[in-house]
């Protein structure tokens, strides 16, 4: 495989395709590094409620499980993303770390573990690093394995562009949704989020950030009355 490509693309022959930095064999090591870090990030979220490497919407699924709402949604969502991205990543040559590592290994697999009652890898920092690294190694080797068998057999990108487009569109929904839910929470918080979003928009920043900050600033002075806990 490697040899064939070196013959085919002579302009790339200054790249040493067998070296650590460019070779296929090193790819699982890179995936192990990032997976260790991201899995440990989920550990930090589980223990300190900061540091999960993902969007609020996706982390919220894990949080729902932590609050007793069941891990099913997070597990199914994360595991299917991991599966889809591994296939796509090996076929197109670029592994999407958002879907595979951040959502799959960072959210899906911890949710599977927690759902099954296995808490140790998520509770302990060293164990989280080791678990993440192992999962990353496995993922990396699967990708290199699929690559060996399929590259050249298929030209399809498997609709990656469509999914990315849809993913970006959904991200845009978050800003207005935050303002809507802030306005439902209380009048001062709603006003804060509207002003924050407007300022961020004027600064050409994503309005979600401004809406959250505005809601928090006003919420600090005019706390939201604690709603009765509805289960």
């Amino acid at each position: 495989m490697i040899d064939r490509q070196m013959v085919e693309s002579p302009d790339q022959n200054q790249l040493n395709l067998k070296s650590f930095w460019y070779g296929d064999w090193a790819f699982p090591i890179f995936v192990a590094f990032i997976s260790a870090g991201i899995f440990a990030g989920t550990h930090m979220y589980y223990t300190f409620h900061v540091g999960a490497f993902n969007d609020v919407a996706i982390v919220a699924m894990l949080a729902a499980g932590m609050k007793g709402g069941g891990y099913g949604a997070a597990a199914a969502f994360g595991a299917s993303f991991l599966f889809a991205r591994i296939l796509e990543g090996s076929l197109v040559g670029i592994l999407d770390i958002g879907g595979s590592i951040q959502t799959g290994i960072g959210i899906g697999i911890p949710a599977l573990m927690l759902g099954a009652g296995i808490t140790a890898p998520v509770q302990s920092f060293p164990l989280a690093l080791i678990t993440g690294a192992l999962l990353g190694l496995i993922t990396g080797y699967i990708i290199i394995g699929i690559r060996k068998f399929t590259v050249g057999q298929s030209d399809s990108t498997f609709g990656a562009d469509i999914m990315m487009g849809a993913g970006n569109t959904s991200g845009r929904f978050l800003g207005p949704l935050i303002i809507l839910s802030a306005c439902t929470a209380s009048i001062p918080v709603g006003v804060g989020s509207v002003i924050g979003a407007a300022i961020f928009y004027a600064w050409k920043k994503p309005i979600a950030g401004g809406a959250i900050l505005g809601a928090m600033i006003l919420g600090a002075f005019f706390p939201i009355p604690i709603p009765p806990i509805v289960k």
């Binding site: 790249l15 395709l17 930095w21 460019y22 890179f30 590094f33 990032i34 991201i38 990030g41 930090m44 300190f48 900061v50 540091g51 999960a52 609020v56 919407a57 982390v59 919220a60 099913g72 949604a73 199914a76 299917s80 993303f81 889809a84 296939l87 796509e88 990543g89 040559g93 670029i94 592994l95 770390i97 958002g98 951040q102 290199i144 057999q153 298929s154 030209d155 399809s156 498997f158 609709g159 469509i162 999914m163 990315m164 849809a166 959904s170 978050l174 935050i178 839910s181 802030a182 929470a185 918080v189 050409k204 920043k205 994503p206 950030g209 959250i212 919420g219 600090a220 706390p223 939201i224």
Partner: protein, 262 residues
């Protein structure tokens, strides 16, 4: 005490992630010859400001504020830390004094080292400042964010993905609808099903019913059958149609440690 623990763990996490993100981003420029990692949008954005350190820096900065707000509010970094902030800031550091992208941004070794340093700093900063924010302030953000996030997960995201599948052609629309519906029934969220539907539909559109697409379809069906079984969907399905649960099915569930309620 907690603060030091958070700082210590953050530095390790940030360096690990940054190292891999940096190397993966540089490797993307040599894909598909070299297996890269990152995202198509990251590659596009890096290309869009390639060569100009200031553009890379300000692009990252915009997302940095967003990530900061998100981590302070809900403890979640957003995916942009890995997709945008680390790659772009690493590029900005390497490209200062007008160096060529070919010698810096496209070099996995240089990007990995820059990424590790930037990653450690960014993650440590985000986590330690978020942890220093009073709990009451975080509560406000969570009370606002959680309902918004729930709305996004259901029904906004399923609908957007579904419409994208319908617009992407007959096969994607059909498979997306079938698997989307099944996913909502079995997993409670249609998105993974629609995504897999697009994957299959587009795969067949572009490559035909090859070995790869056949394996793909089989594994997707297997994924649904297995997750349906383990979530007890089969039993509920039978019950929903007012039929009796066959003894062997109840036994099978029992064997897996799942008690079936009659």
């Amino acid at each position: 005490m907690h603060f030091l623990e958070i700082l210590f763990e953050s530095i390790i996490i940030g360096a690990l992630v940054g190292f891999a993100v940096g190397a993966g981003a540089a490797r993307m420029f040599h894909a598909p010859t070299v297996q890269g990692m990152g995202a198509f949008r990251t590659l596009g954005e890096l290309n869009a400001c390639a060569g100009d350190a200031a553009s890379h820096f300000s692009f990252g900065l915009g997302f940095f504020f967003n990530a900061w707000a998100s981590v302070v509010g809900a403890g979640a970094f957003t995916q942009d830390v890995d997709h945008r902030i680390i790659p772009n800031w690493s590029a900005a550091v390497l490209l200062r004094k007008g160096k060529r992208p070919e010698d810096t941004l496209h070099d996995p070794k240089k990007m990995a080292i820059a990424g590790a340093i930037i990653g450690a700093i960014v993650v440590a900063f985000l986590n330690s400042t978020a942890a220093a924010i009073p709990k009451s302030l975080q509560d406000v953000a969570i009370q606002v964010l959680v309902p918004a996030a729930n709305l996004l997960i259901n029904p906004v995201m399923p609908v957007i993905f579904w419409l994208a599948a319908l617009d992407a052609g007959k096969r994607s629309g059909l498979w997306g609808t079938i698997f989307g519906g099944a996913a909502h029934l079995i997993m409670g969220n249609a998105v993974p099903g629609v995504v897999l539907g697009i994957l299959i539909g587009k795969g067949v559109d572009e490559a035909g019913w090859s070995k790869v697409t056949k394996i793909l379809l089989t594994s997707v069906i297997l994924l649904f059958v297995l997750s349906g079984f383990f979530r007890g969907f089969d039993v509920n399905l039978v019950k929903g149609f007012h039929m009796g649960i066959p003894g062997w099915l109840a036994e099978l569930h029992k064997m897996m440690g799942l008690e079936v309620k009659k």
